[in-house]
């Protein structure tokens, strides 16, 4: 019995690399911001068409399998470089180093995510102010003011609880560049490992202040966004470029995508896919063009 088992395992080990040629199974890996978009789109795509040939008769009659994995935008690029995923999901502009390493590639924009500075509607600051200036944000984010009282003497003497993403997350990079420059983010800030956790903490505590995907702010009534220097993070302002805190949602892949990925991208960029993007609170690229 044991010998049989051993043989079976050895056989598996030898055969395994050779079975991996089936590229009709798509794996998209990377940013957790894009996971809901891609999973929902994949879900809709799979339930509607089931096999590839029903979407595009040129493709074989294989069942549609689309899988998503997290890990962050960096992991998305890495997965493409290492060849372990069909495409990477990246929720920021590609960095120079990454462009260099990727060589010839395509980065397809499937949506835009504005980053909003937000708080609960009963937050002491939010209930008095709808607008923050860049300079004020610098003071808040750098930890220069620790309490709401220190920020404005009319406000209660409670700690400003900053919620931030880990320094490498797409939104963190943008905030850093836009408001902080060389100044590090406040050391007292709570680092959240995901948007979901950040949202939950933001909803749970009236004294928190956070930057978060505008899509999530729109989807939840109990939190609201600040205008920055008088500009609301509305779709129009983001598309026109008036609201600068926005990042592209990219699907990155090697130069010529395999036909299956190309088919899925057509769906994602088509009206059905873009409706999913809009449903989740992000700005569809159709609006931007």
């Amino acid at each position: 019995m044991r010998h049989a088992l051993l043989c079976a395992v050895l056989a598996l080990l030898i055969c395994a690399p050779s079975v991996r040629s089936d590229d009709s199974n798509l794996l998209l890996s990377g940013s957790t911001t894009l996971i809901p978009i891609v999973t929902n789109a994949a879900e809709a795509f799979t339930t509607r068409y089931r096999t590839w040939n029903r979407f595009d008769p040129a493709l074989p009659a294989r069942p549609i399998v689309i899988e998503t994995a997290g890990g962050g935008s960096g992991q998305g690029v890495r997965a493409v470089l290492d060849g372990v995923a069909s495409a990477g999901m990246v929720a920021r502009e590609l960095r120079e180093q990454e462009l260099e390493r990727l060589g010839s590639h395509q980065a397809v924009r499937v949506g835009i995510d504005a980053v909003a500075v937000a708080a609960r509607s009963d937050n002491p600051l939010r209930s008095q102010r709808q607008n923050l200036t860049a300079a004020e944000l610098h003071r808040l984010l750098s930890g220069e003011v620790a309490t709401y009282r220190a920020f404005d003497s009319n406000l209660p003497d409670r700690e400003v609880v900053l919620l931030v993403r880990d320094a490498s997350a797409g939104s963190a990079v943008m905030i850093q560049r836009q408001f902080l420059g060389e100044t590090p983010v406040s050391p007292r800030a709570l680092q959240m490992s995901s948007q979901g956790q950040l949202l939950r903490s933001l909803q749970g505590n009236p004294h928190t202040l956070a930057y978060i995907s505008a899509g999530l702010v729109n989807a939840h009534d109990d939190i609201s966004a600040f205008a920055i220097d008088g500009v609301q993070p509305s779709d129009d302002n983001v598309v026109s470029g008036a609201y600068e805190l926005a990042r592209p949602l990219l699907i990155v892949h090697r130069d010529t995508p395999n036909p299956y990925l190309a088919a899925f991208m057509r769906f994602l960029l088509g009206p059905d896919g873009q409706a999913i993007v809009a449903d989740l609170g992000y700005i569809p690229v159709s609006a931007a063009n």
Binding site: G70, G72, Q97, D166, A167, S168, L190, Q191, M192, T208
Partner: protein, 303 residues
């Protein structure tokens, strides 16, 4: 005739099967154990890219972890300090508790209690790290918020306490073994002198079992610094240098697990994360050498 043939077959099988099994089992052993070297070499190789980017002193003792700055600042002091805090808290709780459980099991427990306690500890040791993290998240973190009026209950203390629970069974079972190994003769000699059981244990049993207990504590130490998810989910993931146990922090393992996905290959940050893993690896190896030495002493005492 048949008998002769059977003998032949047996002889043949002795000639072929034995060397075959010898070779196969040796090959299996070498293959399996070589993974240790594989890990060490891989981690060191990936970490070596950091040489020239930053000095060892700056890497270990500079205060800032700002990998996206230009040039990146890659100090991991906050991480090893958090690891130190978490480990210290967990050992402060787990050592008395674990050794207490061991003393109870080895010296006092009625056989029935012993029979119940052992599987209980095994279950405790077997609960997955991610389940511990979740458990801490829905209990300790919530309680801390209520007790200490904290804005968020995630803290080094919460992580340390949960890690303490994860290492207690290891300390308890190793210490129980060490106490069991002390001969009954020594024990009775003590008791026959007319001293109390506590005195016997303190003066005779514990000193003899000490190397074994020490090995258990060190094993717990290794577990605690290697713990990833349970700590990651409870510690708050902050890159500031922790000032107190109610602060947020980020352990070495947490640093690597959080940031590796975001690090582009070949960047100093990527190498720095492997260097942090290398620090972890070196610690683990040193700890194991410590356990080996403790065991050697135990053997010498035993003879």
């Amino acid at each position: 005739m048949a008998q002769v043939m059977a003998q032949d077959v047996r002889q043949l099988s002795r000639m072929t099967l034995d060397p075959l099994m010898w070779t196969a089992s040796l090959a299996a052993l070498l293959l399996g154990v070589s993974t240790l070297f594989l890990i060490i070499i891989y981690v060191l190789y990936q970490a070596s890219g950091l040489i020239g980017e930053i000095s060892l002193g700056a890497f270990l003792f500079s205060e800032a972890w700002v990998p996206l700055a230009e040039p990146p600042r890659l100090g991991i002091m906050h991480a090893w300090m958090s690891t130190l805090y978490v480990t210290a808290i967990s050992l402060l709780v787990a050592v008395p508790l674990g050794v207490g459980i061991a003393l109870f099991t080895a010296e006092l427990a009625p056989p029935a209690a012993r029979a119940v306690l052992q599987p209980c500890l095994e279950v405790l040791a077997g609960i997955p790290s991610v389940v511990y993290g979740f458990f801490g998240f829905v209990t300790l973190v919530v309680w801390f918020e209520a007790w200490f009026d904290m804005t968020t209950g995630v803290s080094i203390l919460a992580a340390g306490l949960i890690v303490a629970i994860t290492v207690t069974p290891f300390i308890a079972s190793t210490a129980t073994e060490a106490l069991d190994a002390v001969s009954a003769g020594d024990r009775e000699a003590g008791l026959s002198l007319g001293v109390t059981r506590f005195y016997t244990i303190r003066r005779i049993v514990l000193p003899r079992a000490m190397p074994g207990i020490f090995a258990g504590v060190v094993l717990g130490f290794a577990r605690a610094i290697g713990e990833t998810l349970a700590a990651l989910m409870l510690i708050g993931n902050s890159v500031a240098i922790p000032g107190s146990v109610l602060d947020r922090g980020q352990t070495l393992t947490g640093l690597v697990a959080t940031e590796l996905g975001e690090a582009a290959v070949g960047t100093p940050k990527y190498h720095a994360l492997f260097a942090a893993s290398a620090v972890l690896m070196v610690l683990i190896l040193l700890i194991n050498v410590g356990i080996l030495l403790a065991k050697k002493r135990l053997l010498r005492h035993g003879f």
